[in-house]
């Protein structure tokens, strides 16, 4: 999905490189890799997976000796993480910490800066000065405000453009005369531009969700990466009772909202959707993941809602054929658990798709209800969830 975070390692490397500063850090994924690192007395080992509040969560280990690197990574690994950053522990000369950030919108690139950087920058919001980069930008003023040279500032703006950043934050950093050091920095990129950039690639992207993903989610990610159609799946409550098999970016949110409106938000087991006219095989694979999750849930009364708006071009007969294939595999087990399935969908070849899925649901003893667009999404959903309230 378009706006995504780069790893701390890549962010620091890109920024230091463009500023002509040396950066020493190692991106590692295993204790063995960490054990290879040499040359310093003390190291910092941290999780590099876009997790917020790492210090509080104990995901940053300080004062690690060379001999302890492998163990440090192992410890963090045990907590379910898989990407780590190792840096030499450096004591910086005491100097005031600064803040620098860039964002963009229709008006162009905006720069914010403050001489009161650090984690509490938001409390010092008044100290932040904002600029919009244009032909009229007074680079010398900006240089004075930020402590970066004019060349450095131009280089940062160029980097922002060339590598399709949408957000860059250097906070804090030290800049007094020649003494410039980037203490922390974060970058978000427009991942739609992956094709156009050289500075980063997919391996540098970090997802903000917890490390330990379910196999079903990983499976859907792979499916999405290998198809022109789009798929996503997030498990919200593994033991929830409301399962969704949705189509369409808009309708899927509407349906999830309606579940929430009905007071069943906590029972919502998953969010996800397929769109862009996937073929039968792909829909089968996607549906299989949702059904596997469903079988694993410990909830007593489980309902699957297969839904979507009136599709413009997604072929209902073809996509439903994939769902029916999955019913043939998982249907009997689902029926043993007393699952009921409800369907509400419209679009190209809906008559065929709806008739076939109705027959299949009845055959497997899973039939809850099958509705065409004559029944509104909320009506169908209310009927489906009536028994759970």
């Amino acid at each position: 999905m378009p706006r995504r975070k780069l790893s701390e390692y890549r962010s620091k490397k890109l920024v230091n490189d463009v500023l002509g500063l040396a950066y020493e850090g190692w991106s590692v994924t295993s204790p063995e890799e960490a054990a290879e690192i040499k040359g310093h007395d003390r190291y910092v080992v941290k999780v590099d997976q876009a997790v917020k509040g790492r210090f509080k969560k104990g995901l940053v280990l300080l004062d690690v000796e060379q001999a302890g690197l492998s163990l440090a990574v192992e410890k963090l690994e045990e907590r379910g993480y898989s990407s780590f950053l190792v840096e030499p522990q450096v004591v910086h000369e005491q100097s005031s910490e600064r803040y620098f950030a860039m964002t963009h919108d229709r008006a162009g690139i905006h720069v914010s800066c403050s001489e009161k950087g650090g984690i509490n920058i938001e409390q010092d919001a008044d100290s932040i000065k904002n600029y919009t980069v244009s032909d009229a930008t007074d680079w010398s003023e900006l240089a004075e405000r930020t402590g970066f040279t004019q060349e450095s500032l131009r280089a940062l703006v160029q980097l922002f453009k060339d590598d399709f950043f949408v957000f860059l934050e250097i906070n804090p950093y030290i800049a007094s005369g020649d003494n410039v050091a980037i203490l922390d920095c974060a970058i978000e990129v427009d991942d739609a531009a992956a094709y156009f950039v050289n500075g980063w690639n997919e391996t540098d992207i970090r997802n903000p969700r917890m490390a330990a993903k379910r196999e079903e989610e990983e499976e859907v990610k792979r499916l999405d990466a290998n198809s022109p159609a789009s798929f996503n799946l997030s498990v919200l409550n593994p033991d929830g009772s409301v399962f969704l098999l949705l189509s369409g970016g808009g309708a899927s949110v509407v349906i999830a909202d309606e579940v929430h409106n009905l007071g069943l938000g906590k029972e919502l087991a998953n969010y996800g959707e397929y769109s862009g006219n996937p073929n039968t095989e792909e829909t089968f694979l996607y549906t299989s993941q949702v059904m596997k999750l469903m079988l694993a849930s410990k909830a007593k009364n489980k309902v699957l809602f297969v839904g979507g708006a009136v599709a413009n071009f997604t072929d209902i007969a073809n996509t439903f054929a994939g769902i029916i294939q999955a019913l043939d595999v998982y249907g009997d087990e689902l029926a043993k658990q007393g699952v009921k399935i409800y369907v509400r969908r419209g679009g190209p070849r809906q008559e065929i798709g709806l008739a076939k899925i109705e027959a299949s649901l009845k055959e497997h003893g899973l039939f809850g209800g099958v509705y065409s667009p004559k029944t509104s999404i909320p009506e169908a959903l209310h009927t489906a969830l009536k028994g759970l309230k």
Partner: protein, 587 residues
């Protein structure tokens, strides 16, 4: 830009990229609203020259070009809208090019998801400078009931279209960030008993080229529109823009809104929902904050999707007249032919019944007409064809093709096999030079290069140049005869160029003269262009499909057949080479 300017049945569309389902649905819509012709006049895509679609229950073809610049200027001038269904990585370059090359462009819709943000921003700027309405990316398009459907919006099956109540307009505009929901809302509006004034999917990206607020202003300035149904989502701050416009009294029409994504507030780290922008990073971007802002501004904010239909039903004032039209059953034919076919049981060739064609035409006239796929009336072209067919009929039993026919005939093979073995010999070194020469003369004469530059750049043997026996001081009498056909009414561009090349090559070596192949190519090109009005692109196409070799193949078939019959009449048995004709050089 105002919506009413686009309410015309004449808006011609070029499709950048091909998406057969969407294109067919646009043609179906055109047919259902009783347009005389399909609105799509061309498709820009690789791989083929035309695509076939249903037009009602019948079929039409739409021309396909590989590059927009290859499209004839006349079509480019007529185009008022583009539908871009190319992949996201091409969105910027192809849309930019369309804006540059289409002087009367007023509307552009971009379908692809995953277009980089700054590309959308750049295109939006460009569109504003040009005063055109640009929609998307990741948009299913714009629907102007009764007039136009640009994109998948409204559905892609003719049954969906004819049953949705969208063949005539109404007073309710539908604006949505979601493609599926725009269709759902269109159905909700017509289902409630109202009509749609226009439906617009702005797309689910963070920086749509037309923002929701701009879409509202389009509705505000549209006399047909009385109220707006709006679907928005968490993420982005578009709704605050709308609230601001209402407070400034720039938006006065009633807005009925549903903002999706309150469910996101359940999660500690909210998931990225289906659309690119659907991620709330700050409280302002949350669905509930935006709903509140709209409510405060006086928008009718629906808490559940069901309320939208309820509110709309309250706005119904009398029964709406719904235009009805349908498309019956239809079946795609396997092959399309422009040459011949049955018309009520009789064979027709090039538009006339076979016997009539036979009575009115010579073999040369019929041959040339059929090869070109249209009736030829130029007497000169027919006369030249007749001459060339005769001239190329045979060149003695020595040439490769004739030898192969003779070898096959003496091996006891039948007529068709022996003829085929001769024909299969025709290629780059034997008999194929007319087509190659045509390609060269066409390329050379239109490139602006001088014959000398052409020769220097060519390197290697130039097809159509050179002869074993004849030289500059001993001219080929056949070439002389062919050149009698020069002197065309609108000039001899290609012959002039070919003679220029000959002048350069003969200055190097006396036998590098313009030969029969080169002369036929040049004269024929000139006749086609000068006497028959063929454009350069059409000539290029004739070269690509090997039209110029067809004359050789046809004529020489007579020679090969004659050699076959001759060998069979005087059967000498199998032809076998003797050891002294082949030298073995072993190790």
């Amino acid at each position: 830009m105002i919506i009413d300017d686009l309410r015309t049945k004449d808006m011609k569309v070029i499709c950048l990229g091909s998406h057969p389902g969407i294109i067919q649905s646009i043609l179906d819509y055109d047919f259902l609203v009783k347009k005389q012709q399909p609105s799509i006049i061309a498709i820009v895509a690789g791989g083929r020259k035309q695509e076939r679609y249903f037009w009602g229950e019948s079929e039409v073809v739409i021309p396909v070009v590989s590059k927009l610049e290859n499209l004839p200027e006349e079509l480019r001038t007529r185009c008022a809208a583009v539908l871009n269904v190319q992949s996201a990585r091409r969105v910027l370059s192809s849309t930019k090019q369309a804006i540059e090359l289409l002087p009367n462009l007023r509307l552009a819709a971009v379908f692809a998801e995953q277009t980089p943000e700054i590309h959308s921003i750049e295109l939006a700027k460009l569109a504003k400078e040009r005063g055109l309405l640009a929609i998307g990316p990741s948009s299913v398009g714009l629907l102007l009931p009764g007039f136009a459907k640009l994109g998948a919006i409204g559905g892609t099956q003719h049954l969906q279209l004819s049953e949705a109540g969208i063949l005539n307009d109404g007073d309710t505009a539908v604006v949505s960030t979601s493609g599926g929901i725009v269709n759902e809302l269109i159905h909700t509006v017509t289902g409630a008993g109202l009509g749609v004034s226009f439906g617009l999917a702005v797309g689910g990206d963070r920086f749509p080229m037309t923002t929701p607020a701009e879409a509202m202003l389009l509705a505000e300035s549209d006399a047909t529109t009385k109220r707006i149904v709006f679907f928005g989502e968490l993420g982005g701050t578009d709704e605050y823009e709308i609230a601001k416009l209402i407070k400034e009294k720039k938006l006065t029409k009633e807005i009925i809104a549903y903002i999706a994504g309150t469910v996101a507030e359940l999660f500690e780290t909210p998931p990225q929902f289906g659309h690119a922008k659907a991620l709330a990073q700050t409280h302002d971007e949350s669905a509930s904050a935006k709903k509140q802002a709209l409510k405060d501004a006086g928008v009718v904010v629906c808490e559940t999707f069901a309320d939208v239909a309820g509110v709309l039903k309250e706005r119904v004032n009398g029964k709406r007249e719904v235009t009805k039209a349908t498309i019956g059953s239809r079946q795609k034919s396997l092959i399309i032919s422009h040459v011949s076919g049955d018309v009520s049981g009789d064979v027709h060739i090039l538009g006339k019944e076979l016997l009539r064609t036979v009575e009115e035409n010579s073999i040369a006239s019929m041959t040339l007409s059929m090869l070109l796929g249209k009736p030829v009336t130029s007497p000169k072209a027919i006369e030249f064809t007749d001459y060339v067919l005769r001239l190329l009929v045979d060149h003695g039993p020595y040439v490769s093709g004739a030898v192969n026919t003779i070898v096959s005939a003496r091996a006891g093979k039948d007529l068709v096999s022996s003829l085929a073995s001769g024909l299969l010999t025709i290629g780059p070194r034997f008999g194929g030079a007319i087509n190659a020469a045509s390609g060269n003369w066409l390329e050379g004469a239109t490139s602006g290069k001088s014959p000398r530059e052409f020769v220097e750049a060519y390197g290697g043997i130039i097809p159509g140049i050179g002869h074993k026996k004849y030289r500059i001081d001993l001219p080929d009498p056949r070439v002389k005869a062919l050149l009698e056909f020069a002197g065309n009414s609108n000039g001899d561009t290609y012959l002039t160029f070919a003679r220029g090349v000959e002048k350069v090559t003969t200055s190097k070596k006396g036998n590098l003269i313009l030969n029969v192949d080169g002369a036929i190519a040049a004269v024929l090109l000139d006749i086609l262009e000068s006497e028959m009005g063929y454009s350069r692109d059409e000539l290029k196409e004739l070269v690509e499909i090997e039209f110029f070799n067809a004359l050789f193949v046809l004529a020489r078939s007579v020679g090969f057949t004659a050699h076959y019959l001759d060998q069979r009449r005087h059967d000498e048995g199998l032809l076998r080479l003797s050891p002294n004709e082949i030298r073995y050089i072993g190790e």
